[in-house]
């Protein structure tokens, strides 16, 4: 291969590398073009500030869905953060090599299970459990159930990034603390966790973005009633399940309103993604 040809490689690869940005731009463009007009027609504040969603009567307000998504995200974080960070601390600080080779692939495999299967297992086990033992207006199809199902679902995201963050803490920090006579647990809570907190926070935010974008697992266990969440045992509808449920038959303004729901979803996840970057300063990269 000649040197002239070799010079052509770089610009070609640059063009390929820019494809992701271009794709992101086009995706955003199409969702906005299709969704924004109806938002403006209804009134942006009315669209995101009203709880009246009666698409067949031309009433489009998605506040209940926004609140539903946020409630599910909050509930999931309550379940997944202590659990995920705990797993990460164990894997990074306490576990023997053999335990790591057993637990880490298992946690990663949790991410490979399709979200429909999570929904299915949730319907089979967690829904009846919540219905029988806790009751509530949702008959088991509720925020609490969704939080548990999604808590397991996002566990690998939080564990993966937290382990990376913990491992990126220089060993000398730990050595310094241990040399002062601190126990391993004291070192972890007072030194390592503090040094790794921005990375862990990034993992939590990314996990939250994942939860808000999750569709199939949540649609099967949340009940999908369009009401403002009042208790963890209420059935609600999330932004994602609103789109997935009604897209099949929606026409005209109704379909456009679903795209507008997509716009809100797109904006929320972009904000969370930008926040992740802001928190870490740069992308969390695995320690070599």
């Amino acid at each position: 291969m000649s040197l002239t040809k070799d010079r052509l490689v770089s610009p070609v690869l640059l063009a390929i590398a820019c494809f992701s940005i271009a794709a992101l731009f086009v995706i955003g463009l199409f969702i906005f073009v299709e969704g924004l007009p109806i938002m403006v027609k209804v009134g942006v504040w009315k669209f995101i500030g009203s709880t009246d969603w009666s698409p067949l009567e031309g009433k489009f307000g998605i506040l209940a869905m926004i609140a539903g998504s946020l409630a599910v995200a909050a509930g999931t974080l309550v379940v997944a953060v202590p659990f995920g960070v705990g797993c990460a601390i164990y894997l990074s600080e306490f576990a023997s090599k053999r335990a790591v080779t057993l637990i880490k692939p298992a946690v990663e495999l949790l991410f490979a299970i399709p979200s429909v299967v999570y929904g299915f297992v949730g319907v089979l086990f967690i829904v009846p459990f919540v219905r029988e033992h806790l009751g509530g207006a949702g008959h088991g199809f509720c925020i609490l159930t969704a939080s548990f199902v999604l808590g397991i679902r996002v566990l690998p995201v939080i564990v993966g990034i937290s382990v990376d963050a913990l491992q990126a803490v220089p060993k000398v920090y730990r050595d310094g603390s241990l040399a002062l006579g601190a126990t391993k647990w004291q070192t972890t809570t007072m030194v390592t966790l503090k040094a790794a907190r921005s990375g862990i926070l990034a993992g939590v935010i990314l996990g939250m973005a994942n939860v808000i974008g999750e569709t199939m697992a949540v649609i099967m266990v949340i009940g999908n009633a369009v009401v403002m969440p009042n208790s963890p045992l209420d059935s609600v509808r999330t932004l994602t399940s609103n789109i997935a449920l009604e897209m099949g038959y929606a026409e005209g303004d109704h379909r456009r309103a679903l795209f507008a729901t997509g716009v809100v979803l797109f904006i929320i996840t972009m904000i969370l993604n930008t926040l992740t970057r802001y928190v870490t300063g740069s992308r969390v990269r695995k320690k070599k």
């Binding site: 495999l109 949790l110 297992v121 974008g213 997509g262």
Partner: protein, 279 residues
Amino acid sequence: MRRLNPKKAELIAKGVLLLFAGTAVLALVAIVGYVVVKGIGVINLEFLFGRPRSMGREGGILPFIISSIYLTAISLLVSIPLGLGSAIYLTEYTTEGWVTKAIRFGVDCLAGVPSIVLGLFGFMFFVKLLNFSWSILSGSLTVSLMILPFIIRSSEEAIRAVPQSYREVAFATGGTKWQCVTRVVLPCALPGIMTGIVLAIGKCVGETASVIFTAGTSLRIPGSIFDSGRTLAIHFYLLVRETGASDMAYGSAATLLISILIVNFFAYWLMRRFIARVS
């Protein structure tokens, strides 16, 4: 208040953390174990290679398996060249600067787009605007956008793990940059890159939200990429919605899970080989 003895505190903490980690493993074993045990009895040759009857509530799942394979293959065909090209550019052809920062930000954001939003986009762009209709092609292109960031990241990491001295040797023998990349770096990074690709296969197979509005739900075997097809994951979702936990649903779920497990174990095997090679 009497303070807890630090040694005792450590012991309690260790126990609690082990409990957390154990629960995670248990959750995996419980989910996979339950679905596979309930479904394995349904799986036989007639189930795997038969045609569906009465809207897929009875009979076999062959069309859905074929649709899934079709969709996965075309998604990979689109996203591997793009992903690998991006990864090579980011690692070999540039230095860190605002361009790489912008590209990485774009990749991260693309990874963050919820799959249902990708589905909306795919519906508007591929199904309606480009007039591909509900087809394997529309579904594949939508899914390829979903797995692209994943392939870029994993390839980038694999390429970065190739020791610098390998490249120096290639240059010292008079190779051009492209020769160095194609003949030294990529072959060495291949198992690592393959691991990412294999994991992406698992994601394609299990994807539902973005496929349901782009690939359609036809029960027939897709004759070409312009035909609509129902993937196994979508079939499972529709079955559960219509019939609840039927034998067919368990069988489909078990087939889905077993194929994903096989794919993942293959990925781990590849990863092991890769780690042994670069270290």
